[in-house]
Each structure stands twice: as C-alpha cells, then as structure tokens.
C-alpha cells in the first residue's frame, strides 16, 4: 500500500495523507502539471474530469468539469495560491457556475501538496486538505460523496445508547 499515514483533525477540519510512490519527484509532479494526466485521476471513474483551462502560475486558474453517469457536468475551479515546481503546490478548490465564476455560498477547500525525494526513484507525497467549516463540509458531502462513518463514533453511539441519537 502506498499510503503510509493518515491524520484527521476534526477540530481544525484538516485531513493529511502521506504516500510513497515509486517514481521520481519530477515524474509525480507531471500528474498535476500535465492536464491530460490530471484529468485521469482527479475525478472517480464514474465522474471523469475534463480540464478546460490549466494555468499553473501563482494566482492562475484551473477550470474543469466532470461528466456524471446521467450526463450531468458539474463545474469546478482551482485558484493557484502558490507553486514551487516540482515540490510544492497550494490551491483553493471550489464549485463554478456557467461562467467559471465561484458559486456564491458554496464552500471551498484549500489543498497543499508536498513532494520530496526518497532515494533515487521514490517520492513521498503529502496532501493536506483544509475545509472552511463543518457546515461547508456538509455542503460538499451533499454534492455527491457517499456515506461513511468513523469507527470510534459508532462505538460512542453504542456506548451512549439511544440518548446519542442526533436530535
């Protein structure tokens, strides 16, 4: 398994995942920098992404749409906050309207990528995602992610019994 660590911090709404990939840093960087490669992994197989604009400079925008099984094409944007090729990338990701403008009242997320050499042919990738608020996270979930529950919270529900049912 390439994933070596996952840390979730509910108080700061941050999820950090670390992975080791068997490829040099410059090769891993292409997964982000080359729009044709980016669109092969950004969306799940059921919602493949198509990159329309891809300006990888500070302040630059990436515009994309995803194609759903029903032919729906939700749009998204990135705003590049900072970039230091081939090691670091920080961007904001949000939902876009027909003119590629950010949709009002829709949450955004900040994503920070860090690539570092681990020997000649291996790269450590650290990806940190930060949500703006729990309300924002709920909105993102409602946009189509599937259900899931952390084991500890299920145990708490069991321990507390019926009293723990959300009102």
């Amino acid at each position: 398994m390439p994933v070596t660590n996952v840390h979730k911090d509910p108080e700061n709404l941050t999820m950090t995942v670390t992975a080791e990939l068997e490829a040099p840093v410059t090769r891993v960087w292409q997964l982000w920098e080359d729009p044709r490669q980016l669109e092969r992994w950004w969306g799940p197989p059921t919602y493949p992404a198509t990159m329309v604009d891809h300006d990888f400079t500070p302040g630059g925008k990436v515009h994309y749409y995803m194609t759903g099984p029903e032919g729906d094409t939700p749009r998204g944007w990135w705003r590049i906050i900072s970039i230091d090729a081939p090691h670091r990338l920080e961007f904001e990701d949000g939902f876009a309207d027909e003119n590629w403008d950010p949709v009002d009242d829709m949450p955004t997320m900040t994503v920070r990528i860090d690539l570092s050499e681990q020997g000649d042919d291996s790269t450590k990738v650290t990806i940190e995602t930060v949500f703006q608020s729990t309300e924002a996270m709920e909105q993102i979930l409602a946009m189509g992610a599937e259900e899931g529950m952390i084991a500890a919270m299920n145990q708490i529900d069991e321990i507390l019994g019926a009293g723990a049912t959300a009102s």
């Binding site: 509910p10 992994w41 990738v125 995602t129 979930l141 507390l160």
Partner: protein, 114 residues
Amino acid sequence: MVVDTVDEQTNDRLFHALADATRRDIIRRAMRGEHSISDLARSYPMSFAAVQKHVAVLEDAGLISKDPRGREKLVRSNIDTIRTANRLLEEMEALWRDRIDRFEAILEEPEGDI
C-alpha cells in the same frame, strides 16, 4: 502499517471519559440541551465539586464545551459536531486514497505511453 499516536491519545481520553456512568449521563443530557453545572449537580447524589470534575474530564476529551452565560457556564455537547467533522474527513480520506491508487496506475505505465 498506519500508526497514529496522536489519534491513540485522543482515543484514550475519549474512552476514559466514557467509562463512567455519570459522565455518560451528563453527555446524554448535554445532547438534549444546554445545562449549567449547578443544574447538573442537582441531578446526582454527589457534590458540586465532584460533578465539576466529571465535566472537566468530558471537556478534556473534547466531548463537551463550556459556554459562559452570565455568572454561570453552560455545558453543551460537541458530539454532533465531532461526528459530522469526522465523517467528512473520512470521506476526504477515501477520496484521496482512491486518487493515490490512480496515481500508482498511471505511474506504472511505461514512459512515453501516456
């Protein structure tokens, strides 16, 4: 192996806090509405100081918060908020694990074949 000592410490505090009937009862009450500590103390056959101590353990585990309200502090449950945040961070984890699987698949292809 994924070993996360920070999460382990959090779990230790969490399950220690839950390993007491009075504390579990305090959380259940707090989930239904805000209560002052003196209000809670009247419900249990123990001193105000003892109830205050239970509340402190729950607060330390992040299960409840205390909001100042006038001269009193009101005890409020964090469980729904934590549950929501945790669930959504789980979704994020699953999303990125899938993406990292796709990274691997792309990287395994021979160069120039992309």
